[in-house]
Structure formats: structure tokens, C-alpha cells
């Protein structure tokens, strides 16, 4: 072991200089300040550790208190350890309450009690850790063990429905990270994604973190917990701590699962004959002749486009880990090596996601010095969906064949419509096969955390973090046509590669001492962050090999046509000074405070620095004698309040500087390109920090030894100087994204409830946990008086939530000509003079006697009013069962797919139950079928009017979903111990997204829309997947 002692001196500088990855502020409690006592003479102590049912608990860490001398229990829960008489042993294991026992003569038997609701866990709060019971902030810990039951690629998907205040939207798209919003949309254009801190590394990306490696996940929600993250804390913080090796005999764990996946649902659509029947109504009503496939669908194809693009996908996940640690009088070490493979074959043809991860976590404690390291290498390979396959699948007519060998002269051989079957949709089979887009990522996320204790109450800590991404994005598109409306560009290959590097260094001086009844923890710190992204790419065109899906010959050298290159560099940096205080009096009265001053390169020098801070107060009423005496069944009662401010600089780089575009070119002689340069987009002059102020009130209650827990929070947050893109008049000549300005204000308010019950005594154990969150989002101010931000079916304006729907109200269908003629405004003007019975009626909200954009009104229903989760688990004699129900309610969804299919003026497929108004079927909700370009102007106007994207396509988006059901069987230890080498074995079956209850007509009420303002708009999103898997967990 001497050798081990020697190596660290070389190891540390090597880590600092060569491996720029760094450490984390995580569970410091596991490494209490060291006191290098000289230990008295030791004798062997033996003992056995059991769970509440008396079964031996393997892998429990047994330490002689105050030393690093320890071991861990074997498969039967037994241990042997040299410990001096009179010493105290500390027994700890994840999921169990840590116990201390005095060494007595004779074997010890210790029964560990399961940790109820992790009340005694240690929570990372910025740069300090705190016992959960002393927490006065709004912080949620997620039950990671339960979350890991979800057969999904990212932890973000897995924690959905398991905590309050976190809105998560998933999709079935392989490799797509979910949308995660903590406590409402806190920024308009500054981004609303939380900050992730993985073992101390600040990052935006946790898609590539292997969920199996995660030990703890904590969500920081209020300002008192997040303001120490300053300019990155405004949208909440998710702290992830990965697993580490435990002192004792090395263990090997193997887990594996595999299963099948299908989209949860799909549209029921008309076939060719049904489709043509409705189209004939549309053409007849418009007085127009039938196109070929409308007249005679039997002579054309009958394609079920959804079946053509969907398939049964597969998911597979394999993990192996090796962990362990050793301990001696002056040192202890731990290590964990974990390798994982996650592989998904998408339910959409041509998509997949494969990820390989390798994690190496290790640590050394030697006297006053301690170092922990954590690093993951991830290699991910994604094949992306192209275009809008789910929208095209409903848009393409059934009378169009998937393949059309006679298609000419663009000989890719796909069917895509013709005058006989006229559509501007794209053949979705074609789009998935003629083009191949892949992303190849190599990502390192790591950290090193080194600490030296000058005294047991004063330590210096250095955190270094690094994230490095190397990527290659390829887009190979073969020559050929897949739409009537896409240019027959030459085949091309675009290859874009680059590296993004982020470095973080934090220096922290920490004072932590209990002085009588006063617990004081104060720290000061200084930090720098740097990032640099470089990108290089090229496009080559006109490749010889044009077979769909062809990869051969798709290298840049093989292009025979024109080429182009691109590349750029982005740099940013941040400098921060911070301090944090945690104080308690008698563990009863709790105070925290924090302050951070951040400087960011993203702002002009005069606005570069911002100050952020927060404070909180807590009162553990249950520690008061009057309550202890009067209500002994109350095991925990705590009231807390917090207030603070944090910031957001998530606005891209250099945006305060106006730049000259150097490629504004023009070919003056009609051939050679002359270079031109000029400013083509406006600068974000004068921008400064966006600040979010949050007030939080909370109450925690625990009853009957915390078997019953209840917690409630109310928060209100106001974002000031919000960085927004004010919608600029196009007349200013700024194309695309407008520049930023600090002119918005928005507010989020909400309640969060969490309740749980856990019964761990006896052979039958069970627990229930429920959570419910509400959120109300409201814009208080935008750029100018009357300013709005319009985006598709939505408009963001003062007094409404971000991205509120803004639509003309649909008011039914005219049943008679009299109704048309008598539908007048106050001045007696007939509002829809062109209409006939069967045409749509809209509300003339401004009373001007006509229907147009000015009649649009707000529908503030784009964000779920509440979301909920209910999970339960039970176990009996080795059989375990758990389920999660999750959902959202009180919102509407604008259904783009239905608005496409239900318009009869423009060709698309129809819903199978689509029944437009006819004299015999007097629908009050669906206007008559009417093709555009009709014989009279009235018919043309009516066709246009009927097709408006009005409130007709707003639907109730509430849903409840049986998200996860897992049933498992753990083979009893007695049997396992007979199998040489095995220490544990569990097999299980899991179903994900099994049942959905909703009124929504689209395939899935839960969807991802990447457009910030259109989160309530379902643009034929990739539906979630129903997954069935079987798995095995093996311990050696």
C-alpha cells in the first residue's frame, strides 16, 4: 500500500495539467474532515448487518468512526474488522439510515432501517452540503432507483412525473433530449433550460450521461438554492452525482435489458376509396372537374403512409461496472469503472441512436488531503429523422405509390404526386432514405475535486471541470425527387466537424464549525469559466452514386460539382466571485445566504458584471419542545421562506457587436462572383443581464417516524430586464432572428405538493408517492407599449402566457342560407356574404363586419395548469412491483396535423372519421368539403375561409398516462449463494407508456416542439414510444 501513497504526488499535477477535468461538490459528508488520531490497539470485531426483515445486507460500508479504517459486508451481511475496544462503528449503505454502534465484546448484529424519504440525506446546495432536515430551500430529490426503471436513454426522460415543479416533454425520436422546464418559462429568449451540474461540472448536456451511473439527482428550484449559480441559475439547477466505489471487496455488477418499441398511437386515416369519396364532394361543391385519382382511385395506389414509415423499434441496454475501495489508517481509496451500451433502433424507419459510455470515478483520502475524480467518455452515434415525416405521412395522398419506377427524369424512383394526385407533401419514405443525416459525438465530461483541510474547520478546495465535445455531422443527400415541391438539387454531402471545449475552475475557502449551539458554514470562492467552439465544414456536390441510401462514394473528394466551405470560432468566458453562508441555531432556526458577482464576455464592457444573491429562513417547529410534547406523532415539521435573484446570459456570443457580413456577393458580369461586404443583421446594442427574482414559501411535514411525508411550496418569480428578441418590423432590413433587447418582464407562480407513505416493516413492504404542481405564466411587459411576438398560431403579449394561442374563434357551421344572410354585424353588414350552408362561421370579434386577422383572440391555454405524478411500489418475498402514472391537465394543443387534414381546399389525406357537412349530414363542427380555385369568387372565398387555422383546431391536451410498470423477482440469497460467484440476481419486466387517457385526437398529447413560442403546437411531432422490455441485474 506504500506504493499507492507515493503515486498521488505525481498524480495530482498530472490531473491538473493534462486531464483538465474536475471535481465536484458532492456528498462531502461521506468524507468527514479528517482527524489523524493515532489509533489505539485494535482487535478483530465481527458482526452481521441485516435489513428490517433480518436478511443479510451485502455491501454495507463499516468504518471505525473518525478513521478511514473500514470494510464492507459480504453477501451474507457479515464483516470482520480490526477495531479498538470502545470504538464506534459507522454503518452506511445507500437507501438506509446510517447507524453508529459501539464495539462490544462478541459478534455484533445490526439492523439497518431503510431511509424514509431520504430525510437524512445530504443535499448539495451550491458549494456546501446540508442535511436535508436543515434545508430551508425548495429542493427536490428524485428517487433515482425508481427512475432508473424506465427503459430510456437519458435521465431526463426517466425523472418525468417523479418530482414537483419540473415539466418534462418527451418524444420518441431516438437521441433527442427532452424539453425540461423548471417552474415555468423563466425567460423569453434567453432559453429556459436548467443548468446541470454533474459531479461539479456545469453543463447544458446530459443526454450522453449514462443513467445507470447516476447515484443522486437533486432539483434546485428556488432562488436561495440557485442564486449561487449566478448567471446560470435562473432556470433552476439539476445536480447529478454519479456512483462511486465503496470500501470493501470489489464488486461487479451487470445489468441488461432489451425490448421492443412502437409509437403509442397513430392516426386512423382514409384509404384511397374513402379519400376519393370526400375529395369528390370537395370538387363537386367547387364546381371543378375531378383530377385522375379522385375520379378513379381504383386505378391508383392505395398506400398506408404511416405503415410505410413506422416499424417496430428495439431498445437494448447493457452495463457492467466494477467498483471497490480500500482503506487503511491514513488513507482510503475508492474506484468505480462502469461501461454501458445503449442502442435504439427507431420506430421511424432510418433512425437510430447508439451510445457507448465509459465512466471512471475514483478518489483518494490521505490525511488532510482528499481528491476525487469523475470522468465519462461517451461516444454517441445518431441517425436523424429528416424533414417532417409524421406530417408528410398524413399529407401524402393514399393514391400516391411509395415507389414509382417510371418516375422521370429524376430517377430516384419515388412516388410523390402528380396532377392526378396532387400534393406538395414529401414522400416520407423518400425523405428517410434519399438522405442520410448522422451525428457522431465523442464527449468527455469530467471533473477533479481536490481539497486540503488546514484545520478540521477550514479547508481549501479546488474544482476543475472540463467538457469536451468532438463531433462530425454528416448529411448525404442522393440526387432525385421526392416531392413536387423540392428542387432537384445536385446530390451533395455536407460534413461539419468541430470541437467544443468548456473549462471550469473554482477555488473555494470553506469554514465549517459548530460553536456551541451555532452551526456556521461560510465560504468564499473565485471562479473562471472559458469556452471555445470551433467548427469546420464543407459541402461537395454532384456525386456519381445516387442509389437511395448509398454511402459508397460519399466522401468530399468524390464530389464532381461545386464545393463550398465554412467554419467559425466562438469564444466566451466568465469570471465570478461568490460567497455562501449556512447557519443554524440549535438545528432549529435556519438561515442561509449567498451572493455571486458574475462577469460575462457576452455583454459590452459597461454592462459586463451582474450581482446575484439570495437568502432563506427556516424553522424546524418539530424540534420545539411544545410540539414534541403535544404531538409526538409529528416527526418533522418545518416552515421555510426564501427570496433571491439570479441571472441569465444564455444569449450566444458577440451579439452586442454589429458585424460586417463578408459574403454578400454579386456576379457583376453574370458569371464570376464579386465579393461584397456590409452589415446584414442588426446588433443587440446595450444589452445587459436578465434577472429572475423568486420568492418561495414552503412547509414540510413528517408523521409517524416520517413514514408519512408531506410537503408544499408556493413560489412566485418575476423575470426583469428579460432578454427578448423584440419582433422587428421587416422594414428594418434585419432578416431572421432579431437582436436582443432587455425589455421583457414575466412572471411565474405555482403551487407544488408532494406526499408520500412508505411502509418497510414486515415481509410486505409498500410505498406510495404523489406529486402535483401548478404553474401560471404571465408576461408583464414587452418591448414597447402594445408590442407582441407572433409565432404561427401563437402570440406572446402582455397579460398572457408566453406563446398563448392567438386565433380567430371558430363559431360552428352555417346550416341554412338564412343563417348566412342574417349573420351581420351591428351596422347590418353581412359578415360572410360568400358563404353557403355548410361553410364555417367565425366570430367577428371586432364587429367590423368581416373576418380577418384582426378578429383573433387569445387562448391562454398553451401551458398545462397542473401536472401530476403518482408512483407506488410494493415488494413481497423477492417479488417487487412498481408503477408510475403521470400526466398534465388544463391545457389545449393546436393540432397541426388535424388542421392540415381537415382542410379540404388543399390536398392531403383525411381522418378516417372525417365527415364534412353535407345536406344529409348537418355537422356543426366540420364545414363542407370545398376545393380551392372554385368556379366563382364566392366559392374561392368560402374554400379559403373554411380552411382557416382557427380555434377549431385547438383541442384539450390533458392526459394521464401509465408511464411505467415494472415487475421484478429477486432470487433469494440462499439460492444465489449456492451459485458460485454470484451475489445477487434480479429479473424484471418493464412496460413504458402503456396506457394513455386523453381526449386529444392526435397520436400523442405529449410532444416536443422545438420552437420556444410554439410549445403548445403539435406539429406532427414524433410520438412517444410504447416499450416492453425484459431485464436482468446480476451481482458478483
Amino acid at each position: 500500500m506504500k506504493k499507492l501513497l507515493l503515486s498521488p504526488r505525481y498524480l495530482l499535477p498530472a490531473l491538473v495539467c493534462c486531464l483538465p477535468s474536475v471535481g465536484v461538490a458532492h456528498s462531502l459528508a461521506a468524507y468527514r474532515p479528517l482527524v489523524t488520531n493515532r489509533a489505539p490497539v485494535a482487535d478483530p470485531v465481527t458482526g452481521r448487518v441485516t435489513d428490517e426483515k433480518g436478511e443479510g445486507l451485502p455491501g454495507v460500508t463499516v468504518l471505525v468512526k473518525g478513521t478511514q479504517n473500514g470494510t464492507s459486508t459480504n453477501a451474507n451481511g457479515e464483516f470482520t474488522l480490526d477495531a479498538p475496544a470502545g470504538a464506534t462503528l459507522v454503518l452506511s449503505s445507500v437507501g438506509y439510515t446510517t447507524q453508529e454502534v459501539a464495539v462490544t465484546s462478541g459478534p455484533l448484529t445490526v439492523r439497518l432501517v431503510q431511509d424514509n424519504q431520504q430525510l437524512n440525506e445530504v443535499v448539495v446546495l451550491g458549494y456546501v452540503t446540508q442535511d436535508r432536515q436543515n434545508l430551508s430551500s425548495a429542493v427536490s430529490s428524485v428517487n433515482v432507483t425508481e427512475a432508473q426503471k424506465a427503459p430510456v436513454g437519458t435521465i431526463g426522460e426517466a425523472i418525468q412525473g417523479r418530482t414537483t415543479g419540473v415539466l418534462i416533454n418527451n418524444s420518441g425520436n431516438p437521441g433527442q433530449a427532452p424539453n425540461i422546464v423548471i417552474r415555468g418559462l423563466g425567460s423569453i429568449n434567453g432559453g429556459s433550460s436548467p443548468l446541470y451540474v454533474v459531479d461539479g461540472l456545469w453543463t447544458d448536456n446530459i443526454r450522453d450521461i449514462n443513467p445507470t451511473d447516476i447515484d443522486q439527482l437533486t432539483v434546485l428550484k428556488d432562488a436561495s438554492s440557485t442564486s449561487i449559480y449566478g448567471s446560470r441559475g435562473a432556470n433552476g439547477v439539476i445536480i447529478i452525482t454519479t456512483k462511486r466505489g465503496k470500501v470493501g471487496k470489489p464488486t461487479i455488477g451487470v445489468t441488461a435489458y432489451a425490448g421492443v418499441q412502437n409509437t403509442v398511437s397513430r392516426w386512423k386515416l382514409t384509404n384511397a376509396a374513402q379519400w376519393a369519396a370526400i375529395e369528390r364532394q370537395a370538387y363537386t361543391n367547387a364546381g371543378l372537374p375531378f383530377p385522375g385519382s379522385v375520379a378513379n382511385p381504383e386505378n391508383y395506389a392505395d398506400t398506408d403512409w404511416q405503415s410505410e414509415i413506422l416499424r417496430t423499434g428495439t431498445v437494448q441496454d447493457y452495463n457492467v461496472n466494477l467498483g471497490g475501495g480500500s482503506t487503511g489508517e491514513k488513507y482510503s481509496t475508492n474506484f468505480l469503472v462502469s461501461g454501458g451500451v445503449f442502442s435504439q433502433k427507431g420506430a421511424l424507419i432510418g433512425t437510430d441512436f447508439n451510445r457507448y459510455t465509459l465512466r471512471l470515478n475514483s478518489g483518494l483520502t490521505a490525511g488532510r488531503f482528499k481528491i476525487n475524480e469523475s470522468v465519462q467518455l461517451a461516444h454517441a452515434f445518431t441517425t436523424l429523422a429528416n424533414g417532417q415525416p409524421f406530417q408528410d405521412a398524413i399529407r401524402l395522398l393514399p393514391t400516391i405509390p411509395v415507389y414509382n419506377p417510371s418516375e422521370s427524369p429524376y430517377t430516384a424512383g419515388y412516388g410523390y404526386g402528380s396532377p392526378a394526385a396532387n400534393t406538395f407533401g414529401t414522400n416520407p419514405v423518400g425523405s428517410q432514405t434519399i438522405e442520410t443525416r448522422t451525428q457522431y459525438n465523442n464527449r468527455i465530461q469530467g471533473s477533479v475535486n481536490a481539497e486540503y483541510s488546514f484545520f478540521d474547520f477550514l479547508s481549501y478546495r479546488l474544482n476543475l471541470g472540463v467538457e469536451s465535445l468532438d463531433y462530425v455531422d454528416r448529411d448525404a443527400r442522393r440526387f432525385g425527387r421526392i416531392s413536387q415541391n423540392a428542387p432537384t438539387d445536385p446530390s451533395f454531402l455536407t460534413e461539419s466537424r468541430g470541437d467544443n471545449t468548456f473549462l471550469l475552475a473554482e477555488n473555494i475557502l470553506n469554514f465549517n464549525k459548530r460553536i456551541g449551539e451555532h452551526g456556521v458554514n461560510v465560504l468564499v470562492g473565485y471562479s473562471e469559466q472559458r469556452g471555445k467552439n470551433t467548427n469546420t465544414g464543407a459541402t461537395a456536390r454532384s456525386f456519381v452514386n445516387n442509389a437511395p441510401g448509398a454511402q459508397d462514394g460519399y466522401v468530399l473528394d468524390a464530389g464532381t460539382g461545386t464545393t463550398s466551405v465554412f467554419g467559425n470560432v466562438q469564444e466566451y468566458s466568465k469570471r465570478s466571485y461568490f460567497t455562501q453562508l449556512v447557519y443554524d441555531y440549535k438545528n432549529k432556526y435556519l438561515v442561509t445566504g449567498s451572493f455571486r458577482r458574475d462577469g460575462s464576455s457576452r455583454f459590452a464592457p459597461e454592462n459586463r458584471y451582474g450581482n446575484f444573491g439570495a437568502g432563506s429562513l427556516g424553522w424546524r417547529i418539530s424540534e420545539e419542545d411544545f410540539l414534541k410534547n403535544s404531538a409526538p406523532f409529528i416527526s418533522n415539521l418545518k416552515a421555510r421562506v426564501s427570496y433571491g435573484v439570479n441571472g441569465n446570459d444564455n444569449i450566444g456570443n458577440y451579439s452586442y457587436q454589429g458585424v460586417i457580413n463578408q459574403n454578400v456577393n454579386y456576379p457583376f458580369n453574370g458569371q464570376d462572383v464579386n465579393n461584397g461586404q456590409i452589415q446584414t443583421s442588426l446588433a443587440s446594442n446595450g444589452i445587459k443581464w436578465e434577472s429572475r427574482y423568486t420568492t418561495n414559501y414552503g412547509l414540510d411535514l413528517g408523521l409517524l417516524d416520517n413514514r408519512v411525508t408531506f410537503s408544499v411550496d408556493y413560489y412566485t418569480s418575476t423575470t426583469k430586464d428579460a432578454l427578448i428578441f423584440p419582433t422587428l418590423a421587416a422594414a428594418l432590413g434585419n432578416p431572421g432572428q432579431p437582436p436582443y433587447q432587455n425589455i421583457g418582464q414575466l412572471q411565474n407562480r405555482g403551487f407544488e405538493f408532494q406526499a408520500g407513505y412508505q411502509q418497510n416493516k414486515g415481509a410486505f413492504t409498500y410505498g406510495v408517492s404523489a406529486n402535483l404542481s401548478t404553474v401560471k405564466n404571465n408576461v408583464l411587459q414587452l418591448a414597447q407599449e402594445g408590442q407582441v411576438i407572433g409565432s404561427g398560431a401563437t402570440q406572446t403579449a402582455v397579460g398572457h402566457p408566453v406563446g398563448a394561442f392567438f386565433l380567430i374563434p371558430f363559431d360552428g357551421v352555417f346550416q341554412t342560407q338564412d343563417e348566412v344572410n342574417s349573420y351581420k354585424n351591428a351596422a347590418g353588414k353581412v359578415i360572410e356574404p360568400f358563404a353557403q350552408p355548410g361553410d364555417a362561421r367565425y366570430r367577428d370579434t371586432n364587429g367590423d363586419g368581416q373576418i380577418n386577422d384582426d378578429d383573433r383572440v387569445y387562448y391562454d391555454t398553451n401551458i398545462p395548469k397542473l401536472q401530476f405524478g403518482l408512483s407506488a411500489n410494493a415488494a413481497y418475498r423477492g417479488v417487487d412491483l412498481s408503477f408510475l402514472i403521470q400526466g398534465a391537465s388544463g391545457n389545449q394543443v393546436f393540432n397541426v396535423a388535424r388542421s392540415t387534414m381537415d382542410r379540404t381546399d388543399d390536398p392531403s389525406n383525411f381522418r378516417a372519421d372525417f365527415a364534412p357537412w353535407t345536406p344529409d349530414n348537418r355537422s356543426t363542427t366540420t364545414p363542407r368539403a370545398l376545393q380551392a380555385g372554385g368556379a366563382t369568387s364566392d366559392l374561392q372565398a368560402a374554400a379559403g375561409s373554411n380552411s382557416r387555422g382557427s380555434s377549431r383546431f385547438l383541442e384539450d391536451g390533458s392526459y394521464g398516462r401509465l408511464k411505467n410498470v415494472t415487475v421484478g423477482y429477486t432470487v433469494p440469497k440462499q439460492i444465489i449463494s449456492n451459485l458460485r460467484g454470484f451475489s445477487s440476481l434480479r429479473v424484471y419486466l418493464t412496460g413504458q407508456n402503456l396506457i394513455t387517457a386523453t381526449k386529444y385526437s392526435g397520436p400523442d398529447p405529449e410532444f416536443v416542439n422545438g420552437n420556444f413560442f410554439q410549445r403548445g403546437v403539435d406539429f406532427s411531432a414524433f410520438p412517444n414510444l410504447r416499450t416492453y422490455t425484459g431485464g436482468i441485474q446480476l451481482g458478483f
Partner: protein, 498 residues
């Protein structure tokens, strides 16, 4: 205890290493582009800026694509059967979405050009550079801004008027049609004054500005002012009709003697995006108007053009301009028959500016330059101006020049015309010579054919252009101003009727 001391020292070393106290840590200069503050210093900068102002002529909303829908397809010369119903409706005067791409992009892209001109006019005067060059560059910016605003006023009427470089807080006022036209005239007068008679290929010349200003005056019925400008252009001796009519619409003979101003396109770059290296400099009209199997056929030629362009040449042949203007049965469509392409024989398509003379396909990268003003147009406009000024007889020889271009060679007009007869004759001549070249929309307006129900009833005849059944007087003359601008800028009001 050496170990601990060394580790402590190493930690302190690491502290120094990681917090180098770099003073300028937060000063990040954009390495990708120069900034506005460092540009506009040299003659090279000024010239590059002007090139950029020309570059805006190639946007989809300017001359690459959508403007031709607004000019040609909305006019009675063209129509659309696009499967994109909203696009077809747009050409039929039916529009519900005011942010619909064609109208929105025409508005946006012209203002992107205006922004560039405004920068040149604001910054170039302060540059120390060759005075003559400076004068020319500023005059080119005036010319281009006048042209951008002329198109805007033509199609949107009451436009936002912005004449300074925009900033994020700019809030332009809305100008009436009269105010808008006054600005156009003022810019073009400045261009006429300072542009050289001869300039580098592709650049505006004094003749370009005079002809365009003349066209503007024509729209205002300022016949004398227009005529005076056309006289200068004609007498400059710089322009002549090309012998071969076809040379006006192909890549072969660009920037020729007949070209008064043309927008330059090139197929040399085929990259995506705008204003990035390698981005397309191509003309997209051929793809959008191309016959089935070749292009989108989103814009078609009305069949009445065939009967209008049906005079015989001196030798008794059909007017050759007909087949150059319109594809019709039994012409070959890019080398194949109507039957081979499975196209109804009654269908007619635009042939002008198609690339079938040099290739058997279309894409978004046609290299054919678009002739904004041809000398033939100048001659016909002068004929019209003179007729309106009562000099009807003087119009005849101008028209005959156009009719007797060697490759056209119709019989010359010899009859004596009344002023009204001459108006009718000029209407006919302009269709035969200029159909599909973006002048018809101006003509219809200038001739007042969109102002009365009587003339509209003629236009909307089933055999002519039934799309005009949807034309609403007082509304459909102009496109709706985009919703985005109305919501962003409270100074702007929607056009009447929308």
C-alpha cells in the same frame, strides 16, 4: 508530512494555474467578422458595400422568385394551379394569411436592400477616397434604393419609409403612395445626376436611372417628364435593339446593347443559404415556372397570349416572339413532346427565361440575367408618352423599330392612328414584345384597367383571366402588409380592405 506539504503546494500551484488573473479574460473579440465600427474606412469598403446592395436584387423576394409571381402571375398574363393552394390563391387575389411567404418575403427582401443602400448613403460620404468613385457609388446606392422602393410602392402602396441605417429601436413612419413615389423620384433624380454614362458591366448607368425614372413618371402620367428622359436615353446612342429577340432571355448574350438594366444571376455557386460563402447566385424563376416534369409550374402563361401574339411576319410566318414567350402544343417541352410528358395539349407555359435552349432540366440555379428594362421597352414607353402628349404620329416609327427587329420582322405600321387607336395598338405591342417580363402589372395600373368594374369585367372573362373575379377595387391593387410589421411597428397600418 512531506506528502501533505507537497500536495498543498501542488494545490496552490494549481490555483495559480487555473486563475491566471488574465486581465482581459472577458474581452472576447469576434474573430469571425469585422465589426461595424472598424468597417467603412476605405474605398474598398465602400465598393464592397455597393456590391452588397446589388446583391439584394437576387433574393427570392426581389428578382429571384416571388416578385415575378406578383408581377406576371397576378397580372392577366399568368395564373397558377399550384398544389400549394395558398400560393395559387395569392395569384387569384385571395389571401387570408398576411404573413404568407410570397407577400412577406417580397416586403422583407426589398427592405434588406434598402437597409444596405441606407448604410452606403450614411457612411460612404465620410470615407476619404477618390471623389469620382465616391460620387458614382453613392449614385448607385440612390438608384438601387429608388428601385427597391418603386417595387415596394407598386405592390404595397403605403410603405414604411426608412432612409437611415436601421437600429434595433428604429420605428419608421408609413408613407402614403404619393410620399413613397416622391422618395423614389428623389432617389432616381440623384442617380441620374451622378451616374456615369458608362459604368462597369452589371452596374447601373445614367441610362438605367433615366429609363427607370421615366417608367416611374409614366405610372404617374407625367408624360412630358417621362418623354424627356426617354429622349435622352434614345439620343445617348448607347442602346440598340439586338437583332435576335431571343438574345434578351438567354444566358448567351447578356448585358447586350438592348439591356438598360439587368439583374445579374449566375449558376456558378449552388450552395444554400443567403449571404454566405458559396451561396447560390441563381435565378429561380425558371424552376418555378417550368413545365411539368421540369419545374414546379407554379406560374403558367394564359392561353390568350397565343391569340394576342399572332401577327404574321413579312414572310408570312408566325410572330416568332410567340414561341419564345409561351410553350404551347405541339412545341417540345425541354426536348420532349407534350404526349411524352403526359401534359394536356391545351396547357400553356412560360417559355421566356427557361433554360431549355442550353440544358434539359431546371433547378434553382439558372444563370440567366433578368432584364429589368430593355431598350425595346424604352421605345414603347416613349411611343406611349408621345401619344399621350398628342404626338401620335411620332409614336409610329418607335413602334416600328420594335416590330421590325430583324428576327421579328413584322410589317411596319403605316396607318394613321387616332390617339385612342394608338393606345390600343400600344397595348397590343407591349404584350407581344414584353409579356412575362414584369411590366404588365404596371401597364394595367397605368392604363386604369384595374380601376373600374367595366374594365375588370373584360379582364375576368373566362377566356382571359377569370382570377379577376376575386379582384376588389380599392383593395386588390396592393398586397397586405405583413402581420409581423403591423404588430412590431405601431406606426404602420394595414392597407385598405385587408
Amino acid at each position: 508530512m512531506h506528502f501533505y506539504k507537497r500536495t498543498a503546494a501542488a494545490l496552490l500551484g494549481a490555483l495559480a494555474l487555473t486563475t491566471g488573473c488574465q486581465k482581459d479574460l472577458l474581452d472576447k473579440v469576434n474573430p469571425n467578422s469585422p465589426t461595424v465600427g472598424t468597417f467603412w474606412q476605405t474605398q474598398t469598403d465602400a465598393a464592397a458595400g455597393v456590391t452588397a446592395a446589388y446583391s439584394a436584387l437576387q433574393f427570392p423576394g426581389t428578382y429571384a422568385r416571388w416578385l415575378h409571381f406578383a408581377n406576371d402571375i397576378r397580372s392577366d398574363e399568368g395564373y397558377s394551379l399550384s398544389p400549394w393552394t395558398d400560393l395559387a390563391n395569392f395569384t387569384r387575389f385571395v389571401q387570408f394569411d398576411y404573413d404568407l411567404e410570397p407577400t412577406r418575403v417580397i416586403w422583407e427582401d426589398h427592405y434588406r436592400g434598402v437597409f444596405r443602400c441606407n448604410q452606403i448613403l450614411a457612411y460612404v460620404p465620410a470615407i476619404q477616397m477618390d471623389a469620382a468613385m465616391q460620387k458614382t457609388l453613392l449614385a448607385e446606392a440612390h438608384f438601387l434604393r429608388g428601385m427597391y422602393y418603386f417595387n415596394l410602392v407598386t405592390h404595397f402602396g403605403n410603405v414604411a419609409m426608412i432612409l437611415e441605417p436601421s437600429t434595433v429601436t428604429s420605428s419608421p413612419m408609413q408613407a402614403t403612395v404619393e410620399e413613397g413615389m416622391a422618395q423614389v423620384v428623389s432617389d432616381l433624380q440623384a442617380a441620374v445626376a451622378d451616374l456615369p454614362v458608362a459604368n462597369d458591366v452589371g452596374h447601373a448607368t445614367k441610362g438605367s436611372a433615366e429609363a427607370l425614372l421615366g417608367r416611374v413618371y409614366m405610372q404617374q402620367h407625367k408624360w412630358a417628364e417621362a418623354s424627356a428622359l426617354f429622349t435622352t436615353v434614345i439620343n445617348s446612342g448607347k442602346y440598340a435593339l439586338v437583332a435576335n429577340y431571343l438574345d434578351n432571355f438567354t444566358i448567351a448574350n447578356e448585358n447586350n446593347s438592348e439591356s438598360v438594366f439587368e439583374v445579374q444571376f449566375s449558376s456558378v455557386n449552388q450552395g444554400g443559404g443567403q449571404d454566405v460563402a458559396g451561396a447560390s447566385e441563381g435565378f429561380e424563376r425558371a424552376q418555378f415556372f417550368g413545365p411539368p416534369g421540369i419545374g414546379w409550374t407554379d406560374g403558367r402563361a394564359r392561353p390568350w397570349l397565343l391569340t394576342e401574339i399572332s401577327e404574321k411576319t413579312v414572310s408570312g410566318a408566325d410572330d416568332p416572339r410567340r414561341d419564345i414567350t409561351v410553350f404551347h402544343y405541339p412545341m417540345l417541352l425541354f426536348g420532349q413532346t407534350y404526349e411524352q410528358r403526359n401534359v394536356p395539349t391545351t396547357d400553356t407555359f412560360w417559355h421566356k427565361y427557361e433554360d431549355d435552349r442550353t440544358q434539359n432540366f431546371e433547378n434553382y440555379f439558372s444563370g440567366i440575367n433578368f432584364r429589368v428594362i430593355r431598350y425595346a421597352d424604352v421605345l414603347l414607353m416613349q411611343a406611349e408618352a408621345l401619344n399621350e402628349l398628342g404626338q401620335t404620329a411620332a409614336a409610329v416609327p418607335l413602334i416600328n423599330q420594335v416590330r421590325q427587329r430583324p428576327s421579328v420582322n413584322l410589317t411596319p405600321l403605316t396607318a394613321t392612328f387616332s390617339q385612342a387607336q394608338m393606345r390600343t395598338q400600344i397595348m397590343h405591342e407591349r404584350v407581344c414584345e414584353l409579356a412575362g417580363e414584369g411590366t404588365r402589372w404596371l401597364d394595367l395600373n397605368r392604363w386604369g384597367l384595374l380601376k373600374s368594374q367595366g374594365t375588370l369585367d373584360v379582364l375576368k372573362a373566362p377566356s382571359h383571366d377569370p382570377d379577376f373575379i376575386n379582384f376588389v377595387i380599392g383593395k386588390s391593387e396592393y398586397l397586405p402588409i405583413t402581420r409581423t410589421d403591423l404588430t412590431a411597428d405601431r406606426n404602420l397600418k394595414q392597407n385598405p380592405g385587408y
